[in-house]
């Protein structure tokens, strides 16, 4: 088979789509642009919902995007097992679309925070983390104003018990997330959402002072190579 095809979704106000597509290409996969208004996943093998301020974050982050025509295709496909990664605004959209539980609210400090953040990988069995080791520490940038993960106690307990907390902040919680949660997955492990930005940590020259984000993209490639 040819290179894996990873769809990169652009909503009005999506910002990190170029970066996401570049990270996909650097890993050796094909980046396929997907447009919010098209009811068409173009037969991709996986989907990346990048960060940004879709619809200006008006109403609530991700609240309008979840109703995009593309999402009508994406939601059932994700429930059927299509690997989906949402970072930052993409994570918020996945929560709004109920593909992941909980919600992202205003940072505890009330300010937008851009910094290089140490992250603990706790679940290396998801579609997007296979190339990491459980317990591995990585450095990824965060940049958000509304990244405080919250959910009711029962949901948090279920996530913790089920190994669905995929990433945790280390060295200081930047936003007040419950249990320092930086990212989670669904029960099946094919849908992963996180606030940090792996696509900004794939090149020596640019972005964060690390290339620790490469594993997300090599993980998904390897998954298809092994199928």
């Amino acid at each position: 088979m040819g290179a894996a095809r990873v769809g990169v979704v652009t909503f009005p106000g999506t910002l990190d789509d170029q970066d996401a597509a570049r990270a996909v290409r650097h890993a050796g996969a094909e980046a396929v642009p997907l447009w919010h208004a098209d009811r068409d996943l173009k037969g991709v093998d996986a989907v990346f919902l990048p960060g940004g301020f879709s619809y200006g974050d008006y109403l609530r982050c991700g609240a309008i995007s979840r109703f995009a025509p593309l999402m009508e295709e994406l939601i059932p496909a994700a429930r059927a097992g299509l690997p989906v990664l949402g970072t930052c605004n993409g994570f918020q959209i996945l929560c709004e679309a109920h593909l992941l539980p909980g919600a992202l609210t205003r940072n505890e400090g009330l300010h937008y925070v851009c910094r290089d953040q140490r992250i603990l990988v706790e679940n290396a069995a998801t579609a997007w983390t296979g190339e990491y080791a459980s317990g591995q520490e990585i450095l990824l940038p965060i940049k958000h104003g509304e990244g405080r993960y919250v959910a009711d106690a029962a949901t948090i307990a279920a996530l913790e018990a089920g190994g669905q907390v995929v990433f945790r902040y280390l060295g200081g919680n930047p936003n007040g997330s419950i249990n320092d949660i930086a990212g989670i997955c669904n029960e099946a492990g094919n849908v992963v959402g996180l606030m940090p930005h792996p696509e900004h940590a794939v090149e020596e020259l640019t972005g964060a002072p690390s290339v620790d984000g490469r594993g997300f993209f090599t993980s998904i490639l390897k998954r298809f190579a092994n199928l």
Binding site: P12, G13, L15, D16, Q18, D19, R22, A23, G52, F53, Y55, G56, D57, Y58, G109, H111, Y112, V113, C114, R115, P141, K143, G145, H197, E199, H200, E203, L205, T206, G207, A208
Partner: protein
């Protein structure tokens, strides 16, 4: 009742409120002479905003001409002053466009929206050149850090710059934040944007071709900032300033993001003949400037302008500064394609008129002609003033008050820590962490590096492959300029030029934002004239032309002007961005090399300011030939891979430069001082100096290069360890330096 041209002719003696609109009697009389009748109220609105200081540069024009007349020969300059922004050839078929602009007065009145719309405005200037905006920077000045009003203004400004730029997806790659009591009633918010485009893709603000359509696209028009440019930017802040609150515009960065992507698709489809952003003076400015630079005529039906508030009068529509609007000239054949692209991006677009060859700008409202003027008379032929100027009364006494007489410290360790924790030298991370520096994935260097550096490949579809990068820095020191505005402007340029060169980039071109008090004050006007003369002379010597910029007058509280504050931005190019030099000490076991000589220069220094509250004497001496030689060494050394890390030596002197170099990656250093006076070596602010970290095996080649260019160099020690040690003088653990450096700003603002 609509004040039509016919009515104006019939009521020639009707009194008009020109004075309230900021016009002088002779200016009003001139409008009457041009038109051969009294202006209609709509025409009066147009002339009053177009002839305001903000739009016409009527007080500064006679001085600014030096930027043209003294401009150095430059093969890189593609578009010079007078357009929305200058454009520079950066090689491989690529061009860069950049400009810095002030939004000082609105940011005092309403910090968040004032700063946000300042970013929005400069971004649209860059878009209107046909470029993709790729990064922003901000130069901010506030009153004392601990002043109550700074607590009101600073967080709002930072949030405004951040929220707008972050939501647009433009990395903020640098800038400056500093504090001085002179800015307490008049903060400075200067925003810079840089864009990239293919050389063959430059767009200009022009409306040629009779029959071509005039399209207004983007946000609808509301009662935002009506008279903002003329009333706000030309009036000083007195007690009534809060009554002007509604005059500040409100920004919608989401609409601006759509406009960016929409414009880029319009340019790519080649369906735009001319384009202009709507900034100060809104529709008045866009129509008169487009028409004046095109075939010369335009017909507009103001009733077609989409309104957010249907009760707006034509005069208000003409003056509204509603944000996120653009105006394009499009051929009739391309209009459908143009509209389809706008629709794809959910950007409303409306044809409101067409280009004519009548030489007149004619506007109608409900069937009546309300404007009929030669557009050039509003856009280009505004009044020009030769304002009187003279040296300020206390200038000689100020310069005689030499900082060399101040008591020097015994404890240099304590002095270092005092300076390091002082507001101007403390870490600005509390500010910059609120800005996205990574978005779009091309950021190579950003704050706190001396200059921001961007990779330019992969930015625009269809452009040639390139390894090139651009570097940008802004600098400006109001205290230096207060002591000597001629030298102060040159020092600002020299530092920005040096900051670009320390990354390995070749400085190419200059933009400037000239922040001054009232031009009607002859002492302020002297400061302005001296600063412009100094900057123009220095640009000539350094071989870097001014491509554009902005003048902001009336920065004062009561009759007290701010320090003259020319902020200078320099753009440079790296032929191979992978060879950029990183910031600070990057690793242990590197040699630490100081380039440039140190003299006892404390006039206007951070030490005199922080320790003695003193401002007097003269600023550090300017040596532009030395700066040029230094930059040549830095660029060649970077190109040959001789340098691992670098840092400019400036505010706070070598002591602060060493500290910041250590803090960049937490790598310590042990150095000895080259001179015989440790205080002078550590805290003097002599210019033309840079710290380098080089691998031992590269040192001889670097030394040869310095010798060849006659740049003084001193190997002063080596990196390594967990402390900054100045042998025989002081030793401070890096962790302690970090704590002092990082603590100051959050202690005030982190609640």
């Amino acid at each position: 009742m609509t004040d039509s041209v016919r009515r104006a002719t019939e009521t020639p003696d009707e009194p008009q409120p020109y004075a309230e609109l900021g016009m002088k009697t002779d200016e009003y009389e001139r409008v009457r002479t041009i038109l051969g009748r009294r202006p209609t109220s709509s025409e009066l609105a147009i002339y009053s905003v177009m002839w305001s200081e903000h739009c016409s540069y009527k007080s500064s024009k006679v001085h600014l001409r030096q930027f043209g007349s003294k401009a150095p020969e430059s093969e890189a300059l593609l578009v010079g002053m007078g357009e929305n922004a200058g454009v520079v050839d950066i090689g491989d078929g690529w061009a860069a466009t950049f400009k810095i602009e002030s939004h000082n007065h609105p940011s005092y009145v309403e910090p968040h929206q004032g700063a946000a719309t300042g970013v929005g405005g400069i971004v649209r200037d860059i878009m209107s050149m046909g470029a993709r905006p790729v990064a922003v920077m901000d130069a901010l000045r506030f009153g004392p850090l601990d002043a109550p009003d700074t607590r009101r203004v600073l967080p709002g400004v930072v949030e405004g710059v951040g929220s707008y730029g972050n939501c647009l997806g433009l990395p903020n790659i640098g800038g400056e934040t500093s504090f001085d009591p002179c800015y307490i009633g008049n903060p400075l918010v200067n925003a810079l944007c840089v864009g990239l485009l293919r050389k063959d893709q430059i767009k200009l603000a022009t409306a040629p071709g009779p029959g071509n359509k005039v399209v207004l696209f983007g946000a609808s028009t509301g009662p935002d900032g009506i008279g903002g440019a003329s009333v706000l930017a030309s009036a000083t802040f007195e007690d009534e300033s809060h009554a002007k609150r509604p005059a500040v515009q409100v920004g919608d960065p989401f609409m601006e993001k759509l406009l960016i992507e929409c414009c880029l698709e319009l340019f790519e489809a080649d369906v735009v003949v001319g384009i202009q952003d709507l900034g100060a003076a809104g529709v008045s400015c866009a129509t008169t400037e487009l028409a004046a630079k095109g075939t010369g005529g335009m017909r507009v039906d103001l009733g077609l302008v989409p309104l957010r508030d249907p009760s707006l009068r034509p005069e208000e529509i003409l003056m509204s500064e509603s944000q996120e609007r653009m105006m394009a000239v499009v051929t009739p054949e391309d209009i459908d394609a143009f509209m389809a692209i706008c629709a794809r991006w959910d950007v409303p677009a409306t044809v409101i008129g067409e280009v004519t060859d009548t030489g007149r700008l004619v506007m109608t409202w409900k069937g009546e002609v309300i404007v009929d003027i030669p557009p050039g008379t509003a856009a280009d032929d505004g009044p020009v003033y030769e304002r009187p100027f003279h040296e300020p009364a206390g200038q000689a006494a100020l310069n005689a008050d030499d900082a060399g007489r101040l008591a020097r410290p015994d404890d240099l360790r304590a002095t270092l820590l005092t300076l390091l924790g002082s507001p101007n030298l403390a870490s600005k991370e509390w500010v910059t962490s609120q800005y996205d520096r990574y978005v779009r994935g091309n950021t190579v260097l950003a704050t706190p590096a001396d200059a921001g550096v961007l990779r330019i490949g992969e930015v625009m579809p269809g452009a040639e492959e390139t390894d090139r990068g651009i570097a940008l820095a802004t600098d400006g020191n109001g205290r230096y300029a207060r002591l000597d505005p001629y030298a102060g402007a040159q020092l600002a340029l020299a530092e920005a030029y040096r900051n670009v060169a320390v990354t390995g980039a070749r400085p190419l071109a200059v933009t400037n934002c000239l922040n001054f008090g009232s031009p009607e004050d002859p002492e302020v006007m002297w400061q302005f004239a001296e600063a412009v003369r100094g900057l123009a002379d220095a640009c000539k010597t350094l071989g870097v032309p001014v491509t554009g910029g902005n003048v902001s007058f009336y920065n004062q509280t009561g009759s007290t002007p701010i320090h003259p504050t020319p902020v200078v931005g320099v753009l440079g190019v790296l032929d191979d961005v992978r060879k950029r030099v990183r910031h600070g000490f990057t690793a242990p076991e590197l040699k630490v090399v100081l380039l440039g000589d140190t003299r006892a220069e404390f006039g206007g220094s951070e030490w005199a300011h922080v320790v003695h509250g003193h401002l007097g004497g003269l600023p550090p001496a300017v040596d532009l030939d030395a700066e040029r030689a230094l930059a040549a060494v830095l660029v060649e050394a970077a190109g040959r891979g001789l340098v691992e890390g670098s840092h400019d030596v400036s505010d706070g002197g070598l002591a602060i430069a060493l500290t910041e170099a250590c803090l960049a990656r937490g790598v310590g250093a042990t150095v000895h001082l080259p001179g015989d006076d440790a205080f002078v070596d550590l805290f003097s602010e002599s210019t033309g100096r840079v710290l380098l970290a080089v691998r031992p095996e590269s040192y001889d080649a670097l030394a040869d290069l310095c010798a060849r260019r006659e740049v003084p160099y001193y190997c002063i020690g080596a990196t390594g360890g967990s402390a900054l040690t100045v042998e025989g003088v002081l030793e401070v653990p890096v962790d302690e330096l970090r704590a002092v450096h990082a603590g100051t700003i959050p202690a005030i603002f982190a609640s």
